[in-house]
Amino acid sequence: MKQIIRSIGMMGLFLLFTSGSWAQDAKSLIQQMENKINVEALDLTSTFQLVQKKSGEADRVLRLKIFRRDLAGRFTILFQYPDSEKGKGYTRTGDDLYLYLPSTREFVYRNRKDDVGSSDVRTDLFGKQDLLSQYEPKILGTEKISKFDTTVLELNAKSLDVSFPIQKWYIRVSDGLPMKVENFSASRTLLRTVYYVDYKEVGPGKFLFTKLMSVNNLEKGQSTLLSNLEISTSKIPDYTFSQAFLEEQSR
């Protein structure tokens, strides 16, 4: 009897140890991934083209210029195309995101969960990632995406103050970069899938996605394709991360 109890105890300890270890692995995987895609040492200026596709409708094209300074948790997004959107922009510091509307010359407070120009792409995609502050990760296993082996992580929100309470991240085994992200609702309905198609190394061990597709899983046939047109790592003036900059650009 004592032996049975001891065996059960040992098994419990083993399970506790291994699950803790898996959780630890999951966290370190996320940290490693974020180390690659967050670029604290650099300022990044990039231009993206967004093509939103909806079934039965003509493609909608947006062009955005993005100024990013991960070290300060800041970014500024400036709409350049089409003319109807020109002058619009976002500026973010920490969790505070402001949308500038040139038509009324006012700044509207948005939280970090805003979609860019009613597309299927969220503003936080363009800034510094800090998943571990919001989510508790665990490893689900491995899966092949296209021809690549990936580690599948499930991220469960620590609080409901996030858009997607459950996410699945598919991280490429070979280089630790995300290949696919699935966003789920609280009741585990798949809402959106983001495919990271291509990356460019912008600094030693630092990567920025250059092609990405976001698929709306609720609205069939709706997706947004992001393509990077140019990247620069030149120093960005501090003024660029201010509301005054957006106002000035809209004139």
Partner: protein, 441 residues
């Protein structure tokens, strides 16, 4: 004096063409004013009636809960608010809880953001009478916990039909997305403006879709057996709500009162982290419709402007008519003056003549107005679509002629006539007998 009044009455139609021409003006003004006042009263009665039956109570409560500075819209621990009302007013009060949220609905490649209203079908039955079911029934809605009733417009837009199931996605009050599946158990039309574009749902279903706790609601609608003195009743309940742990107040402005009715989750804003409060805003229906009163005043203003133009024309007509009448009858006036008639009696006779004329035509105008109101209210049917439904009840324009409107119109026009007749009458009355009798017209 009655003799001169009798003479005045006989003289009303002595110059038939002239009298009828002036009388038509009185007729039109009386008719126009009655229609405007009836329309204005009708909008008010219809608006508040429709509002109270489905979208607000005699008193409507909204709330927000602040926890560590984070503000979430909605009433926390609403059963304790209901209890406070029961403690104060006993069984003479009914309090109904509603849950509201906005959610996007997806079907066959179409999506639409819709306003959902969740109600407790065991107690909250006011909506039932406002719906004209094209398919399905209220009973099937009651039996199906994730059933919804949708308007014909929504059904057409999303190509939905009876028994279709569809996914809805909402950003909950905390910010996280949640999804649910609903089943269309009825498609309706409604003449009530406040029902036309809502998805009728179950309270519990929306509460759990919004990831909210069981004691939370978006609004409370309070109904009293005796529907009056709402502000006084609110003054009685506020201390009880304070005692129950709420910071309760009346709305700061008319706009804030409307927001009480329109409140829907989810939203949040950040305050200082040391703030933990349960706030309630308690609005009376009079405050909620105060914005309508402003619109009503504008409608009345336009009507009164038109009426004043007509009255101005009448004033000129009265003046010209009186001068012509006095010229016509200058020798009669001279004779009356010669046999010792006082100036004031002649003035009275001439003024009374016009007042009698206006009385006849104003009454005619009001009677015709009442007939028009009756005909339009009962026999003219309009499609209950969009803003037009604010003015309709079961497809008919709501016109409410009140006794006070009728009396106001009558007294105003008669006073106006007397006032504008007085000055030319005084001119005629003051003519000396010798001058009058010597005048040849």
């Amino acid at each position: 004096m009655p003799y001169y009044l009798n003479m005045a009455f006989k003289n009303v139609f002595r110059q038939k063409k002239r009298s009828v021409t002036l009388g038509v003006n009185y007729f039109v003004v009386a008719l126009l004013l009655l229609l405007i006042f009836s329309f204005s009263e009708g909008v008010k009665a219809n608006f508040s009636g429709n509002l109270i039956s489905v979208a607000a109570g005699h008193i409507t409560i909204s709330g927000e809960t602040i926890t560590k500075g984070k503000t979430l819209l909605g009433i926390a621990d609403y059963p304790s608010v209901i209890q406070a009302f029961k403690d104060e007013f006993g069984e003479s009060v009914t309090v109904l809880a509603r849950y509201k949220l906005t959610s996007t609905v997806y079907n066959r490649g179409f999506s639409k953001s819709l306003s959902f209203q969740g109600l407790d079908t065991s107690r909250d039955l006011a909506l039932k009478d406002q719906l004209n079911f094209l398919t399905g029934s209220w009973e099937s809605f009651v039996q199906n916990p994730n059933g919804v009733l949708i308007s014909r417009v929504t059904a057409d837009y999303l190509e939905l039909k009876q028994d279709d199931e569809l996914i809805i996605s909402t950003r909950t009050r905390f910010g996280a997305f949640n999804t649910g599946t609903v089943k269309v158990v009825g498609i309706y039309e409604s003449a009530n403006y406040f029902v036309q574009d809502i998805v009728v749902s179950h309270f519990d279903f929306l509460q759990s879709l919004d990831l909210n706790d069981k004691a939370s609601a978006s609004n409370l609608f309070v109904y009293f057996d005796v529907p009056k003195s709402f502000a006084e009743k609110r003054a009685l309940i506020l201390p009880r709500l304070e005692a129950a742990g709420y910071i309760a107040s009346k709305p700061a402005s008319d706009g804030a009162a409307v927001s009480v009715v329109a409140a829907a989750s989810p939203q949040y804003k950040m305050l200082g982290e040391d703030i933990n409060e349960k706030r309630l805003t308690v609005a009376t229906v009079d405050e909620v419709i105060s914005l309508l009163s402003q619109a009503q005043a504008a409608v009345n203003g336009v009507g009164l402007f038109l009426a004043s133009i007509l009255l101005f024309i009448i004033a000129i007509s009265i003046f010209i008519n009186m001068r012509m009448t006095i010229s016509d009858r200058i020798q009669e006036i001279g004779t009356l003056r010669a046999i010792g008639t006082d100036v004031k009696d002649i003035i009275l006779m001439l003024v009374a003549e016009n007042v009698f004329l206006s009385l006849v035509f104003v009454i005619g105008g009001l009677m015709t107005g009442l007939l028009v109101v009756f005909g339009v209210s009962n026999f003219l049917t309009l499609p209950p679509a969009g803003v037009l439904s604010l003015f309709l009840e079961k497809g008919h324009l709501v016109l409410v002629p009140t006794i006070s409107s009728l009396l106001t119109i009558l007294v105003t026009i008669l006073t106006f006539t007397a006032f504008f007749s007085f000055f030319p009458a005084r001119h005629g009355g003051k003519v000396k007998a010798a001058v009058a009798l010597g005048t040849v017209y």
